[in-house]
């Protein structure tokens, strides 16, 4: 590897910790708060987690630590998609562990949960870990999407843990991974394995979020990276004054990223999947809304603009959701009949004749490109890969047609973009660097105090690190029952954009003005140095939620 100047400089950055964690590690005392309840389905979840349900919230105060300082052997895994700051969770964990006792050991299991099953690991050393401080990516140990959820897997994990004398496992992941962390914690407790399990809240999508997880890590950096690009494109649109730019951003289940980018950049249009679903908006409702904005701007001589589209939008549109489900079913059931069809015409006719009449009509109305994408790109489970559907192109085509059908005189020349992978491995912003380091540092304190089934939490995040509060929350507290694969499972409730939440309300109150006028904001590239108001900016969503 060849180090860029920024990478070298970032090695020198010392992440900021909450005030309480800045104390000598021997002077941090654990405080037990109230016992907790799950957010719903309390009885059922209590039954499923007899050993780890109802535990108390944890915070810290200055005092005499009763934690176990030595003999700590901890394993850590990264789970799921990359998010900026993952490396800092590990460096924070490592630093706290080594400060506690230099003989403590941190093992990194490689390639995600499968590393734990395959016993594929490295032992962290100063020399190795220093190469990853304050850098993006998950390449320190890699990540993976294997799910740890069966008892068979748990048994293997217990064996691996026993082999290495692990007393704790830290799982850095999203809602699913943390759900599984809780189940694993319960298993380890139930079997008296002596292995604790602690989770850390990761996901750029921002949908692991509740009253104690103010934001998942990586969301800030990813959104700032997308917003840099969106702002640059806004400035381009405002200079050239001839293009509409349709920008798709990551975020499948929830539109937090799209909303945050809108709050940062003030584009002319931002679609929010949760609103589309709540209002039962059809594809044509959306197309008409966009066409109205295009016409309103054009009437003012503004034949350009920027629209943000969340990746998952298409699944929120009722009739498309049905269409996709029908196609998935159809191609799975008739896989062989379909495979022998030689021409596009044959494929098209086959599909049309096997869909319900409603879905057939929806399908016929789609541009040919999108029809192809719906039929061609199957994932290993036979489902359409939603992220590969070029929703942004679809909207452009349909808006152009709508304007033509209206006989509109608005000029509409549009370009499309998709930002996703660009933001997942950026150097973490100072916010994410500090937040992640604190999460990891804090995770060790939970471990050394003998806790299990907790998520590491750092709160009061919009107020600056010295005002941050560190602690832990039982993962079961965030759970409810949801139906998955035909049975009720205890899961962490996924946080969607709340239409009555302050961030959406702010957007809603301003979007008409942003649509008809040009109120673009150009955030520019993430700054790691310079004036605090430039390099320590809080995520807008958080700032609005917390009233800053």
């Amino acid at each position: 590897m060849n180090y860029s100047p920024l990478q070298k400089a970032r090695y020198e950055y010392q992440p900021k910790l909450p005030l309480i964690l800045q104390n000598d590690i021997n002077n941090i005392e654990v405080c037990y708060g109230n016992a907790t309840q799950s957010v719903a389905d309390q009885d059922k979840i209590k039954e499923m987690f007899p050993n780890t349900y109802g535990m108390k919230t944890i915070s810290f105060k200055k005092g005499s630590s009763k934690a176990k300082k030595d003999g700590q052997v901890v394993g850590v895994i990264l789970s799921g998609g990359q998010a900026p700051g993952g490396h800092n969770v590990i460096t924070g964990l490592y630093d706290a562990l080594k400060k506690s006792n230099p003989n403590n050991v941190l093992l990194g299991f490689k390639g995600g949960p499968s590393g734990l099953l395959d016993d594929d690991y490295i032992e962290f050393t100063d020399e190795f870990i220093n190469e990853y401080r304050n850098t993006g990516g998950f390449d320190i140990i890699g990540s993976g999407r294997t799910k740890l959820e069966t008892v068979e897997q748990f048994k293997v994990v217990a064996e691996v843990a026993k082999k290495h004398s692990l007393n704790a496992i830290v799982i850095i992941g999203g809602d699913d991974s943390n759900t599984n962390a809780a189940v694993l914690a319960e298993y380890m407790a139930a079997t008296n394995s002596g292995v604790q399990v602690i989770g850390c809240p990761k996901t750029i999508d921002g949908d692991l979020k509740n009253d104690v997880i103010e934001v998942s890590f990586g969301f800030d950096t990813a959104c700032k990276t997308y917003s840099e690009l969106i702002g640059n494109i806004e400035r381009d649109a405002n200079s050239a004054k001839k293009y509409w730019h349709f920008i798709k951003v990551m975020g499948r289940s929830a539109s937090h990223i799209a909303l945050e980018c809108a709050l940062e950049c003030q584009p002319n249009i931002c679609l929010v999947g949760e609103e589309v679903e709540a209002k039962n908006q059809s594809m044509m409702d959306i197309v008409k809304y966009i066409a109205d904005v295009v016409e309103a701007r054009s009437a003012k001589g503004l034949n350009y603009g920027v629209a943000i589209v969340p990746e998952g939008l298409i699944e929120f549109i009722p009739e498309v959701k049905v269409l996709i489900a029908e196609i998935n079913e159809l191609l799975a059931v008739h896989e062989k009949d379909y495979a022998v069809l030689g021409t596009w015409e044959d494929q098209f006719n086959f599909v049309i004749s096997n869909l319900t009449s409603n879905s057939a009509a929806v399908f016929k109305n789609l541009p040919v490109d999108i029809q192809h994408q719906l039929l061609m790109d199957r994932d290993p489970h036979g489902n359409v890969q939603v992220s590969r559907i070029e929703t942004e192109k679809l909207l452009i085509t349909m808006v152009a047609k709508e304007l033509k059908d209206r006989g509109s005189k608005a000029k509409f020349s549009a370009l499309n973009h998709f930002f996703g992978y660009e933001g997942r491995c950026a150097f973490p912003s100072n916010f994410d660097a500090d937040y992640c380091y604190s999460l990891g540092y804090n995770a060790f304190l939970l471990i050394s105090n003998g806790l299990t089934g907790y998520m590491s939490t750092v709160t009061n995040l919009s107020a600056g690190p010295s005002n941050w509060e560190a602690g832990g929350i039982p993962i079961t507290k965030m759970m409810n029952l949801e139906r998955r694969h035909g049975e009720f499972k205890p899961v962490i409730r996924k946080a969607l954009v709340e239409l009555d939440g302050k961030p959406f309300k702010y957007f809603e109150a301003h979007r008409k003005e942003w649509a008809e006028n040009t109120c673009f904001t150009f955030p520019g590239a993430i700054q790691y140095y310079g004036p605090a108001e430039v390099c320590d900016i809080t995520t807008r969503t958080l700032a609005i939620e917390q009233g800053n």
Copy 2:
């Protein structure tokens, strides 16, 4: 407009000037160097520019200025595509002009050259111009693509100039715009209009470049922005270890951007259009090269990678170049016959049956998506819009097919990206902010010293602003004759990537290592603050050329 924290902070940035320009403007004396010759076709170009050919190179030294300080009324236009730093050219010009005498006037003609023809302008004031200091975009006065090239247009410009008592016009543009600036300068001199014309070298593509224009402005910032994203994607690839990313970057005629990004990021593959053309590489040659790299990496267990593809690549591939020319011709001649064809099958057969057999074979071999793009997206002149051809997708499809045909066991799952508009309006890097401000400041000194037909130059650019040299070079010096629209025209020679130049040689010497191993470099976001080695990085191409 709502100002981002970075935008506010950048207002405070004071761009650095070459040492000589830091002197009191009254103490800067012009020095005349050697008389110049055009780079080729000297006799013919001398004949075409009787008043502005053979002028001397200009530099400055500390001494007593003989420049005209007052009564200066200067017009400025931005021409062509956006490039970071354009605003700073104007602020530098403005500051020098006002320092010379506060009553001097700077007019900005709006929307590019057409603003000059339509007399659509604003007069700059401190209050207005301060909002644009050190910002990206061309929205200060807008830009446009109208070409100023006919005598009729020149007459209109002369009238507008007379109306405003303009004594000079500054044209900020690329090679074509500066060619036209030279022709306009000649016209103004020949007609004794008293109007001087000065050019400034703009283009993110980097193809306005020669022994005196070390780099055009905007190239540095645009490439750093793309490299930020490419580096992030490299880190993602290196973390997930499951995708090949094919990244198309802007640069149609020349592959400077692709090469610079490769030098900054060390990807596994970077294609260079000039090499493809020089070696007469066919599409299959390229596909096989990529497939070889995919297989070589796969053999080492590396089923991922990053490939950079210049936007204009497809036009450099001999058989595709012929195919595109044939299709352009075919659809222009048979426009009506083609328009009535209702189905894709009919269109396909019509095209196939009217192409030469070679081109028909090439066309048949292309994926359906690309066939569509070649036939559907016509520009107003009936030509295919090359930038809209998804070359990166084409390569993915063809490489996948090649690997299948080989019976290869290499895993090849690929994603595509296109970076272009994201970089054209970024906040200029410190380098571009300083360079552009200096170009503009310097342009005023050329004007006040009575010069015309010059391009503003700042050289020795890899050595830091205090070592930069300011001056001017007759635009005719850069010219040669090229055949355009059936006649020989004097034009600034477009600078392509030189295959025997140091940057390409460096790339060539390393690419095998970069291909087979993982030597990714992660430049991260442009930094405007912080350690000098982070925020004042020279463009790699320049550094290598100048041996730094």
